[in-house]
């Protein structure tokens, strides 16, 4: 596929990509008005319709669209407006041409390097590690370079016991599950009650332990509870059967 075959249908322009490029360079279309992303999408659609990828044309497209993006971003940079930096059409065209020539040149170099590597790959180098006798100091030549006290010091560090862990900042649990079980059973004997009432004026740990106790009693079948909505009031009752029995 040639880029010239890429038909565009943009807000500000309809026609072949090459023509748009020329019009931009001749300032007949304002680059600031052109949606470059739309061009990229058109190009991808185009490739999909063709079902084949011409690397040559694709590379050229990438180089051109990247250059246009850079030119456009330069135009959009705030502050440069005052300086009235206009895109000189001649210079811009020259810049695009240099880009295309560079891209061609380095693609040729790349091919050369790939061929060179292929030609050279028949030569292999040895990659063995040095034999052990070259990896250590030789005994006859060895001189004292280390201080034995470094070993004793390292040993001293290893003998040091870590300071005992200080747990004083942790709240000591003052409440047990069995104590809260007794509390809940006692309240239940006086009929239905709310969870809030069961944990009035206690700390958070006690609230948590009370909840464990509540779950335990529920599991044992000693009570039931209802809660109409999340975070709503929890009402605790004797189990239905025992209420019927006592009724």
């Amino acid at each position: 596929m040639r880029l010239i075959d890429l038909e565009l249908d943009l807000d500000v322009f309809a026609g072949p990509f090459d023509l748009l490029l020329t019009l931009i360079l001749r300032e007949e279309v304002d680059l600031l008005e052109v949606d470059l992303a739309e061009i990229v999408i058109s190009y991808i659609d185009h490739l999909e319709r063709r079902g084949e990828l011409d690397l040559e044309a694709a590379t050229e497209f990438l180089v051109l669209i990247a250059a246009l993006l850079e030119l456009k971003s330069r135009l959009m940079l705030p502050g440069e407006e005052e300086e009235e930096i206009d895109l000189d059409p001649g210079e811009a065209a020259e810049e695009l041409l240099v880009r295309l020539l560079d891209a061609h040149r380095y693609r040729a170099v790349a091919q050369h390097l790939s061929r060179t590597l292929e030609a050279e790959s028949g030569h292999r180098f040895r990659s063995a590690p040095l034999p052990p006798w070259l990896r250590r100091a030789s005994l006859p030549d060895a001189i004292a370079v280390y201080d034995p006290r470094a070993l004793a010091a390292a040993l001293g560090g290893l003998l040091e016991l870590p300071p005992p862990v200080d747990v004083r900042h942790m709240t000591v649990a003052k409440v047990s599950v069995s104590e809260r079980l007794a509390h809940l059973r006692a309240m239940l004997r006086h009929g239905s009650f709310t969870f809030d009432a069961a944990v009035a004026r206690v700390d958070r740990v006690t609230v948590a332990v009370t909840l464990f106790a509540l779950l335990e009693l529920y599991k044992q079948g000693e009570l039931t509870w209802t809660q109409d909505e999340p975070f709503g009031e929890i009402t605790i009752d004797a189990p239905v059967r025992s209420r019927e029995l006592s009724a």
């Binding site: 072949p16 748009l20 590379t59 880009r99 030609a119 790959s121 028949g122």
Partner: protein, 192 residues
């Protein structure tokens, strides 16, 4: 019977993973530089004229032993892997730009290629073909080629790369590109 210096140099080159230059060989063998150069040349000729399995090459600024390419098929069967996987087009382009423009920054590479060079540059770094070479004045990491690059591409130094003008697009291509940019559109201007 092989001369003492030649056999010692053979052993040293066998042990060295990297190319060794003549001065280092002279130091290690306690010989004069010109004796070393003569002995290296005799060693090279021995491999070549006797058609040994090894060759002596001058690469990346020093001497290094390598296998003769005739052994490559057997080496591939024994070692079960190609020695140097070929470069992808993106890697080859990135490497070409680094080789000729070094030190060169990643944004510059991307600018020439029209696409981001992240992944190709990362692979080249990982394969040890390029390395970081400080930062540009704008803070971008600069890249240059490594000694391993020279070795794998059979070069004594980076100066042995062909002149980049050899790869200039032909005048016809240049004219065509210029045409594409200016005149082709101009002819149809107003029809769009």
């Amino acid at each position: 019977m092989t001369a003492e210096l030649e056999r010692t140099i053979e052993a040293l080159l066998f042990l060295s993973a990297e190319p060794v230059d003549a001065a280092a060989l002279a130091d290690a063998t306690e010989s004069d530089l010109h004796e070393v150069v003569t002995a290296v040349e005799r060693l090279r000729e021995h491999y070549e004229f006797e058609r040994r399995g090894l060759v002596l090459r001058e690469l990346a600024g020093g001497y290094v032993l390598a296998t003769h390419p005739d052994a490559e098929p057997a080496a591939r069967r024994l070692l079960a892997r190609p020695r140097t996987p070929p470069l992808t087009p993106a890697q080859a382009e990135t490497l070409a730009i680094v080789a000729y423009l070094q030190p060169v920054s990643r944004p510059e590479i991307a600018r020439i290629r029209g696409v981001n060079a992240e992944s190709a540059a990362a692979t080249l770094l990982e394969r040890g073909l390029v390395e970081e070479a400080g930062r540009s004045q704008f803070g971008a990491i600069l890249y240059r080629t490594t000694d391993l690059f020279l070795r794998l591409f059979g070069l004594r130094s980076i100066d042995e790369l062909p002149d980049s003008s050899e790869f200039d697009p032909s005048p016809e291509i240049e004219a065509e590109l210029r045409d594409r940019l200016m005149r082709a559109g101009e002819a149809r201007a107003g029809t769009g």
